[in-house]
């Protein structure tokens, strides 16, 4: 056997191995993709079937034609000729899962917390990085130390305190605390330390620019990438925050999407499976759509050490 032949064989062998390995990895990835997507697919499929169909045959794999009826049920717009049970069911669903109201409430909370969190975290990070003052070291240490404290630890006191202030059934205890987000400040401080030149602050001082204006017109535009990443995470985290919202918002008219879903889950009579699935679909739809539009930023953000909720 000549040397060339031998070498060629070894090379083929190596290639074959790599191809086999890649194929195995691809198969595993396809399997995991299915595990991630199939529940969502089945959920959407089932929300297009009527309760009758789902009772007769719960294993539906393909789209049905009763989406309209399910929408009518959860909007409480069933035709006048419908039976009493159907009307009662529709009444029950529409009062617990008021889609428009839920989206609006969730959007108000998530939107305003995002703006506050990102702006004030950038402000605090700027203060810590740019200015040299006695307490800046201890302040930063404090922020790192409290970063990992779980919400659960102080929630009993938080709720009792909010009751005593009369702030239950109000968005204030859900929105204002967003000003203080230690993990996001930590992220912004490390971002600023690596990519914010302090000379620029001095230059703007020489040009007679006030400190706050320097922050607004020079620092914020330069911190945009970090702020955008954190804004996405803050929005998602607050949209999904069932724990705090459920302990503060007791009144139905303030209910957010996660609270409404939990209410639908608690039904034990007059169940309509199709409407059930439709409610869950509607609750995840906006966030999934936004996710697929922004997925590139989100994945990059997680890789940067995005905040673990």
């Amino acid at each position: 056997m000549s040397m060339k032949q031998q070498y060629g064989q070894a090379k083929d062998n190596y290639h074959a191995k790599i191809i086999a390995k890649s194929a195995l990895i691809f198969a595993v990835c396809v399997l995991l993709t299915l595990i991630c997507l199939v529940p969502i697919y089945i959920l959407i499929v089932n929300s297009t079937h009527s309760n009758m169909e789902l009772v007769a045959n719960p294993s539906q794999f393909f789209f049905g034609s009763h989406l309209g009826e399910n929408i009518q049920t959860i909007m409480n717009k069933v035709p006048d000729g419908a039976s009493k049970v159907v009307k009662r069911t529709a009444q029950q669903y529409s009062s617990a899962f008021n889609v428009g109201k839920g989206y609006l409430n969730s959007f108000i909370i998530a939107g305003s917390t995002t703006v506050l969190t990102v702006f004030f975290s950038a402000l605090t990070a700027y203060g810590l990085v740019v200015y040299d003052f006695k307490l800046s070291g201890p302040a930063y240490t404090f922020i790192i130390a409290v970063m990992m404290i779980p919400v659960q630890v102080s929630s009993a006191g938080f709720v009792a305190f909010m009751y005593s202030l009369g702030l239950v059934n109000s968005f204030i205890p859900l929105i204002v605390p967003a000003i203080a987000a230690p993990a996001i400040i930590f992220f912004m401080v490390s971002y600023m330390k690596s990519s914010f030149p302090l000379d620029i602050v001095e230059a703007s001082r020489i040009d007679g620019c006030g400190e706050f204006r320097t922050f607004l017109t020079i620092a914020i535009p330069m911190m945009k990438p970090a702020m955008a990443v954190q804004a996405i995470f803050a929005f998602v985290a607050n949209w999904n925050n069932y724990y705090t919202q459920n302990m503060i918002l007791k009144n139905e008219k303030f209910a957010t999407v996660p609270i409404m879903v939990s209410k639908v889950l608690a039904f034990d009579k007059n169940l309509d499976n199709g409407a059930n699935f439709l409610c869950v679909t509607l609750s995840i739809l906006p966030i999934v759509i936004v996710y697929f539009i922004l997925s590139k930023f989100i994945i990059a953000g997680v890789a940067l050490g995005g905040v673990k909720e």
Partner: protein
């Protein structure tokens, strides 16, 4: 050469702006976080339900930790708290182990330059997706698919395929429900952990892998000798954040049920705390027990947090600081000596 303006600006003290910029954070943090934490601590020394205004000292702690207390059901409260702790541990362990193994495997595969994988970006996007979906909706989704009777999708499909003869109790079954929660938690978090580990692996100097390749190391040797040791800090971080996250496990265990009440077999510490204080009025809530349990969790978190802090501290910076102090001392000693000879 600094201009006159530059010198003048250098002479101004900007310290007050520093305080002004960080003031909003500290005001809000103290009002909405520090005070509630102190208040929780105070509540843990007060009574429950109708005795909510009464100081009871360490009674709540002795009730939930030792089963001895003034209330009639002290032993039951202790049992419930420890069952919740046990459930938290089991559920955390059962989702962390598969999650970290799967994420590590995927992260190594995705960062392997030799492997040709089409659609890598797509896989990453899909695998991270469960993490952004509202946890309450995820619980509702699984409850509606995995219901206990043959009227639900999974059981009906399994029975049609002849895999089971009777419907499986995925929700009420004591073991099946725990396995389901572990599965859901893994489903939610493996993509996130994978991406964090990937960025850790990509931070490793690629020439190390090249050198190992030239020396003939196979992928397993490269993994155990290079990737894993260099990934240690990020692994410790993942472990501790996951442990703290595990202590907070709430949405899925609390909502994975049918009907109005949560599933007692899935009661975690977070659910225990929440259920005790979230009863509407002060007269019917157990703020004392909730407070005492919160403080216990706080202590556990503080211990876990200081472990990460200790493991991840910047060793080079500490060594440099020590050296500098030593040099300073030597310099001072020299000065003293010099002063004497003069």
């Amino acid at each position: 050469m600094a201009s006159a303006a530059q010198r003048r600006i250098k002479a101004i003290s900007y310290a007050k702006y520093g305080y002004m910029f960080i003031a909003p954070f500290f005001l809000v943090y103290c009002f909405f976080q520090v005070w509630p934490l102190i208040y929780t601590f105070i509540l843990s020394f007060k009574g429950n339900q109708s005795e909510h205004a009464l100081w009871v000292g360490l009674n709540n702690y002795s009730t939930i930790l030792l089963g001895q207390g003034r209330a009639a059901g002290a032993a039951a409260s202790q049992e419930e708290f420890f069952r919740a702790l046990g459930n938290t541990l089991i559920l955390w362990f059962g989702n962390f182990i598969p999650q970290i193994l799967l994420s590590l495997l995927l992260a190594v595969w995705f960062t392997d330059a030799k492997v040709k994988l089409p659609g890598k970006g797509f896989f990453k996007v899909v695998m991270y997706m469960p993490n952004i979906i509202t946890a309450a909706s995820v619980a509702a989704l699984y409850v509606n698919l995995f219901g206990d009777s043959e009227n639900y999708f999974v059981n009906s499909t399994l029975m049609k395929m002849g895999l089971v003869s009777a419907p499986v109790a995925f929700i009420k079954g004591p073991i099946a429900s725990k396995l389901m929660v572990m599965f859901i938690q893994t489903w939610l978090w493996f993509g996130n952990t994978m991406i964090m580990l990937m960025s850790g692996i990509m931070g490793i100097n690629p020439s190390l892998f090249e050198a190992a390749d030239i020396d003939g190391a196979n992928s397993r040797q490269q993994f155990f000798r290079i990737t894993l040791p260099l990934l240690q800090p990020i692994m410790v971080y993942t472990l501790v954040t996951s442990m703290i996250g595990g202590l907070q496990m709430f949405d899925i265990p609390y909502l994975y049920h049918n009907g109005a009440n949560f599933n007692k077999q899935l009661e975690t510490v977070a659910v225990y705390i929440y259920y005790n204080f979230n009863q509407g009025t002060v007269e019917s809530a157990n703020y004392g027990y909730a407070g005492a349990a919160s403080i216990v969790i706080f202590i556990i978190t503080a211990i876990l947090g200081s472990i990460t802090f200790y493991m991840n501290r910047d060793k080079d910076a500490i060594a440099k600081k020590k050296q500098r102090k030593k040099a300073e001392k030597q310099y001072k000693a020299k000065m003293k000596q010099g002063g004497l000879t003069l």
